[in-house]
């Protein structure tokens, strides 16, 4: 009831982990989320239609080391937003689990204080009828971290100032602020309970470039000052290059590549990653002709057999059509199970495993 420091929460919350906190703050194991989008049972019976299941997230596994940023990239329909919501508990997984600091997220009491989220749309993420002060104060009041009155006001002002706004803004309404400022308010709200882990769902995609730079710099400063861990969802690879320590690439709900940032950008393994990097319009080197990605993202309700990318992949063979590739380490080809060092990358691609892909790019 009284405000507990993060350290106290950490040490009393771990009932299953060892005496020291887990090296990886977040561990995701075999996470899947399937949505049933079928028509009602009766109409299916009458029309003879199949059940349509959307595998929004399909057997995804990764870890995030404490104090680092994992970026998840992908295009629309790849499942990254669903993944974000699974991690914070807005969806419950169909399969698999999320371990936070060694404790299973679903089993333990929802960790609302330690995990928070920042959303994409700065206009819809703040209640238009509440003052900014009330919005930022809500988590403090809900968890009893401050008493209503001067103490609360003081905390709220401090939070607003830590994100670059002024304390006097707490009596104003969201519509009086610009998109970038609203995202700062969202960040202030998310930081109110002093969380360890922030899931950021495309936090700057709706912002102008110069405003984006301000918000990204702010997020970086906050991470450094408070030791925050981020999961950063984005479709913009340039932004990812700036913010991430490690990067995961998703396609149709599956994790196709996962590597430290420097490695992903210098030696991308998966054909989809390579094509993605190649397709982005660049400021330099614009005269070079490039092969844009062929085709379009298939219907997620009806994904291709085997490797989901095979219809668009120049290196697809018969095995790719038949068998779904597992995520393997690119160094030795062994499975994900062993706890590899942070230097290795992981790819789900038969061509890589069979050595059919070169390192010179397309």
């Amino acid at each position: 009831m009284k405000s507990a420091t993060s350290a106290e929460i950490k040490s009393t919350g771990d009932s299953t982990s060892s005496t020291h906190p887990a090296k990886h703050l977040v561990q995701v194991e075999g996470l899947s989320k399937t949505f049933d989008l079928s028509a009602s049972w009766l109409s299916r019976l009458l029309s003879g239609r199949q059940a349509s299941l959307l595998h929004a997230v399909d057997n995804v596994s990764f870890t995030i080391a404490r104090g680092t940023t994992l970026a998840i990239v992908g295009e629309s329909g790849c499942g990254k937003s669903t993944l974000a919501r699974l991690l914070v508990g807005l969806h419950s997984p169909t399969e698999g689990r999320v371990l936070f600091d060694g404790t299973d997220n679903a089993v333990a009491r929802p960790l609302n204080q330690r995990i928070q989220m920042i959303f994409q749309d700065p206009y819809a993420s703040l209640d238009p009828r509440w003052t900014v002060g009330d919005i930022v104060a809500e988590p403090l009041l809900e968890h009893g971290l401050a008493r209503p009155g001067p103490e609360l006001q003081h905390r709220v002002s401090a939070l607003l100032e830590s994100v670059g706004l002024s304390g006097s803004d707490l009596s104003r309404f969201p519509h009086q602020f610009s998109g970038g400022q609203r995202q700062r308010i969202s960040i202030a709200r998310a930081l109110a309970t002093e969380p360890d882990f922030l899931v950021c769902d495309e936090p700057t995609s709706a912002l102008d470039v110069s405003v984006q730079a301000q918000v990204l710099n702010l997020m970086r400063d906050l991470q450094r000052d408070r030791g925050l861990t981020y999961l950063f969802i984005s479709h913009n690879l340039a932004v990812v290059r700036y913010v991430a320590d490690s990067v995961g690439v998703m396609y149709l709900g599956r994790l196709v590549e996962w590597a430290p940032k420097s490695r992903l950008f210098s030696r991308p393994q998966h054909p989809y990653t390579r094509m993605l990097l190649d397709a982005i319009p660049k400021l330099r080197d614009t005269g070079r002709s490039r092969t844009p990605v062929q085709g379009e993202v298939p219907d997620p309700l009806n994904p291709p057999s085997g490797c989901a990318f095979h219809p668009r992949c120049p290196l697809a063979n018969e095995r790719c059509e038949r068998e779904r590739p597992q995520l393997i380490s690119t160094d030795t080809g062994s499975d994900l199970g062993s706890n590899r060092g942070s230097n290795s990358g992981r790819v789900a691609c038969h061509a890589v495993q069979e050595g059919r892909i070169g390192f010179s790019g397309t």
Binding site: S76, V209, A238, Y242, K261, I280, K282, T286, V293
Partner: protein, 325 residues
């Protein structure tokens, strides 16, 4: 010297509100040569979409053109009536907007919409128009065009829909195409395809393009020249390589520096402090001066015109002839 296809001179667009007259575009001037691709880049609220809307006669009332001139192939069009503009739209100026769902009527097949546009502007029979529509669809990369011409917009994916919109815009063979954020709503991999298509198809027809976007990468890949807008004014205009790699205006410098680089690791993103002023609070003199790292006395009270700065022009007193470089 070849005559410019589009000439905009000192365009001023105002919105009467109950708090007074809001000047959304304040003296915008630009030209587009036949077959050229001009990019118009800027952040939200800078006025780039408004510029396109004003040219094509689609300003939302109560907004109106208060002064300035727009010439299309020598003909002055800013004073045209709604009917006259309707004759120009489609036939001489084509439009592509950001949201394909808004451009395509969901109740009619795309073939119907294409043929209707073609026949409104060109004297073709129904059969000829249909044939032409199929050719257009094939040209924009729609597979099985002869079949899909009968499909409805919702049966196409986002990227395909935008291709149909491009086909629609070019159906009547316009001389100028205004594309307002044509790829912003599309996935990255599709963006590349659609931008490539737009560039190629306009080149093949000799149509000029005014490409409005906030994405500098798209501009770099597609345009010949680019105009940078800020607070309703053009602050820099010039050849694409020049503006991007050797920007002359401090705002452009700041803008380019704040774009994350795909190819290098950056320690910190440069940022421009503050925000673009709201239209009812534009400072006197140069609109950028409160945020400018190189501001001096003249900037605060005297508004700069577009001055020569190498091969481009910038509205900045740093480039006044008497100022030492």
């Amino acid at each position: 010297m070849v005559m410019n296809l589009l000439e905009v001179n000192n365009l001023v667009v105002e919105f009467p509100t109950r708090r007074g007259l809001l000047r959304a575009l304040d003296g915008v001037s630009l030209t587009i040569a036949p077959g050229e691709i001009l990019g118009v880049v800027g952040e939200s609220g800078a006025g780039k979409s408004l510029t396109g809307a004003a040219i094509i006669g689609l300003l939302d009332p109560p907004g109106r053109i208060s002064s300035g001139e727009i010439h299309l192939a020598g003909e002055r069009i800013d004073q045209y009536s709604a009917d006259q503009m309707r004759g120009i739209r489609g036939r001489r100026i084509g439009a592509i907007f950001q949201d394909p769902l808004a451009s395509l009527d969901p109740l009619y097949s795309i073939g119907h919409q294409l043929i209707e546009t073609i026949r409104t502007h060109l004297p073709l029979t129904a059969g000829q128009a249909r044939q032409r529509a199929i050719e257009l669809l094939e040209e924009t990369g729609i597979p099985a065009a002869a079949e899909r011409i009968n499909h409805y917009p919702h049966q196409f994916s986002g990227g395909m829909r935008q291709r149909v919109v491009i086909a629609l815009a070019l159906a009547a063979e316009p001389q100028l195409v205004i594309a307002d954020e044509p790829t912003t709503a599309l996935d990255v991999s599709i963006q590349a395809q659609v931008i490539g298509l737009l560039k190629r198809i306009c080149h093949d027809r000799g149509a000029a393009v005014m490409l409005i976007t906030h994405d500098m990468g798209v501009i770099a890949e597609t345009c010949d020249r680019v105009a940078v807008m800020y607070a309703g004014r053009i602050v820099e205009i010039g050849p694409v390589q020049q503006v991007i790699h050797a920007p002359a205006h401090p705002y452009t410098v700041g803008l380019m520096a704040s774009i994350p680089d795909l190819e290098t690791d950056l320690e910190r993103l440069a940022q421009i402090d503050g925000a673009m002023p709201r239209l009812d609070a534009i400072p006197p003199g140069c609109a950028f001066h409160p945020r400018c790292p190189r501001v001096f006395e003249r900037c605060r009270f005297e508004r700069p015109e577009l001055l020569d700065a190498g091969t481009s022009r910038a509205a900045c007193w740093l480039h006044a002839p008497e100022v030492a470089p």
